[in-house]
């Protein structure tokens, strides 16, 4: 077995494979299929200060090699998470990270503070990139100023590992990455979904209730990989790479492009065992190529 350990700031993961927020529930939904403790981490569903019903249905549309979603951060709120979900998942032997969303800086801060109190949650992923909500969400992640302002406020309130999840719907993702690095983010994760749209030509109507939605899946991989590579050359903090990772080869590509860890999203829907298979696949690749530690792959692209 090769050494799969990676670090995201002070956070040491048993391996670089995490599951992406919104695609893996609270992990429990997948417990019948895989051994959750084999994952590097599980990033739970976007959590907000208050309960949110999310968007009306239809919320999903299939696209070529991908899908659009318009869930809109449906969740029962951070207090419900703390009281009802956290007690159930806290004994599972992997890291749970909470994906934190908000409609205002104050919301983000209040939610992060509550999560900070939870012993077994070593990090949050600050979602400033959700394209499916009217206020907040992506708006925070598409300008340096607003991204900086929310990260500054949360940084002041949240002492543990702070990962900021960036939006790909920007002209230059490295600017935003630098802005949040300057405010003390411990890492960035990218990419969230790309804003897209689907139309039913026969009915002459949008497919999604919200007209536009977030594109994810294999189709976005080339864009995500490019953004990880650009960001790797722009910031010093670690990068968590995601977007269209469907198998171990894809995951290795992200590591080579500069990611210190990766997240598996939409692929969980097609193969609920894929996250564990990716852990195995990375190990196999390392052994086959006589690479002692996965850390040697990080940013290891040869030009």
């Amino acid at each position: 077995m090769a050494d799969l350990n990676v670090n995201i700031g002070v956070l040491s993961l048993k391996n670089p494979v995490m599951t992406a927020s919104g695609t893996f529930g609270y992990g429990e939904e997948f417990a019948d299929f895989i051994d959750l403790s084999r994952l590097g981490g599980i990033i739970v569903k976007g959590t907000t200060l208050h309960h949110r019903e999310g968007n009306p249905y239809p919320r999903m549309a299939e696209t070529p090699s991908g899908m659009l979603n318009a869930v809109g951060l449906q969740n029962k709120g951070v207090d419900y998470f703390i009281e009802h979900i956290y007690p159930r998942i806290k004994e599972i032997d992997t890291y749970f990270l909470v994906n934190v969303s908000g409609a205002s800086v104050e919301d983000y801060v209040a939610t992060a503070e509550k999560i900070a109190a939870l012993d077994r949650i070593p990090a949050i992923e600050l979602n400033i990139s959700c394209p499916n909500v009217k206020e907040g969400g992506m708006a925070f992640g598409t300008s340096c100023q607003s991204a900086a302002s929310v990260v500054r406020a949360v940084r002041a309130a949240y002492p543990k590992t702070l990962i900021v999840k960036l939006s790909p719907n920007v002209t230059d993702i490295t600017e935003i990455a630098r802005a949040v690095e300057a405010e003390g983010a411990d890492a960035v994760s990218l990419i969230n979904t790309l804003l897209g749209m689907a139309i039913d030509a026969q009915r002459r109507r949008p497919v999604l209730s919200t007209v536009t939605g977030g594109l994810s899946g294999a189709c976005v991989k080339p864009i995500a990989l490019r953004m990880v590579w650009q960001t790797y050359h722009a910031v010093k903090i670690p990068i968590v790479g995601l977007g269209g990772i469907m198998n171990a080869t894809d995951a290795i590509e992200f590591l080579l492009a500069g990611a210190s860890a990766i997240e598996v999203g939409t692929a969980n829907f097609i193969d609920p065992q894929i996250s564990e298979k990716i852990v195995d696949g990375i190990n196999e690749y390392l052994e086959k190529n006589h690479i002692a530690s996965v850390k040697e792959l990080i940013g290891g692209l040869m030009l």
């Binding site: 919104g22 695609t23 893996f24 529930g25 939904e29 997948f30 019948d32 299929f33 569903k45 019903e53 999310g54 009306p56 249905y57 239809p58 919320r59 999903m60 549309a61 299939e62 696209t63 070529p64 090699s65 991908g66 899908m67 979603n69 869930v71 449906q74 899946g217 294999a218 939409t266 969980n268 829907f269 097609i270 193969d271 609920p272 065992q273």
Partner: protein
């Protein structure tokens, strides 16, 4: 209930009509089928179909434990289901199963129960009918089709109870929609319904007027099938709930349908 990802082998593909196929599947490793309840569904990975990225939800049509066979009744709706309908005996199909909830059992064997299916919506009713009969209930079936050419699984249903048929063009059974069928003049205690939304709404209206217990099997656009992605919500009195997990079977009293 434990969920599985399993490879199945197609033991038979019965081409029922141009537009429907019945796939009989058996676990590729020969192990016995897991426990499955009526109303549950499976998520099928459609291989070799470039435009089918996600799995497809398909109801459990029948579980033949003696032959260790799971039946799926599939209507050609698009490329994914067309590919499934074209599978040949011996081919392998990967399923995630069993998913979703189940129908509610009647309280007493005396209850008068009608299982209503429309089109491919008859699919879950066959296993549910068998299950009810096996538990000592007396299900009856009301099946609606466009025309006699669309009739599906009539003989199978007959094994488990009386079958009434409506066709829109009158070519078989009574003419019209299921809600116009004369059997609905008789008193019932419970209705279970699966079919196109307008049909389910019509039956739900009938049930509500008479204050009958009524459960419907809903569809929705699904990605994960296990309650993780929240893509498949139905608006209910308890808020947005996942059709794949809290459903697909819902009591009409829980729904916010305008009926």
């Amino acid at each position: 209930m434990k969920k599985y990802i399993l490879d199945f082998r197609v033991s038979e593909n019965v081409q029922l009509h141009d537009n429907y196929a019945l796939l009989k599947l058996t676990p590729a490793d020969g192990c016995p089928l897991p426990e499955m309840l009526p109303g549950q569904f499976v998520e099928v990975r459609v291989d070799r179909s470039p435009s089918t990225f996600l799995r497809r939800p398909i109801s459990i049509n029948f579980v033949d434990y003696p032959h260790n066979e799971l039946w799926l009744l599939i209507r050609k709706a698009g490329e994914g289901t067309r590919t499934l309908c074209g599978l040949q005996a011996g081919e392998i199909l990967n399923l995630v199963l069993p998913l979703g909830n189940t129908f509610t059992l009647p309280e007493s064997a005396q209850e008068r129960i009608l299982l209503v299916g429309g089109g491919v919506g008859i699919a879950p009713m066959l296993y549910w009918g068998k299950y009810l009969k096996g538990k000592g209930y007396t299900p009856r079936f009301l099946l609606g089709f466009r025309s006699d050419k669309d009739l599906l699984q009539y003989d199978q249903f007959r094994q488990f109870g009386e079958v009434y048929v409506s066709t829109e063009d009158g070519s078989l059974g009574e003419k019209g929609f299921v809600t116009q069928h004369s059997i609905l003049n008789e008193p019932f205690d419970r209705l279970y319904v699966c079919g196109p939304k307008p049909m389910m709404v019509a039956v739900a209206r009938y049930a509500r007027e008479r204050q009958l217990f009524c459960e419907v099997s809903l569809e929705n656009t699904m990605a994960c099938g296990v309650g993780a992605c929240l893509c498949c919500v139905e608006d209910t009195v308890e808020g947005h709930v996942c059709v794949c997990k809290e459903g697909p079977i819902f009591n009409i009293e829980k729904l916010k349908w305008q009926i």
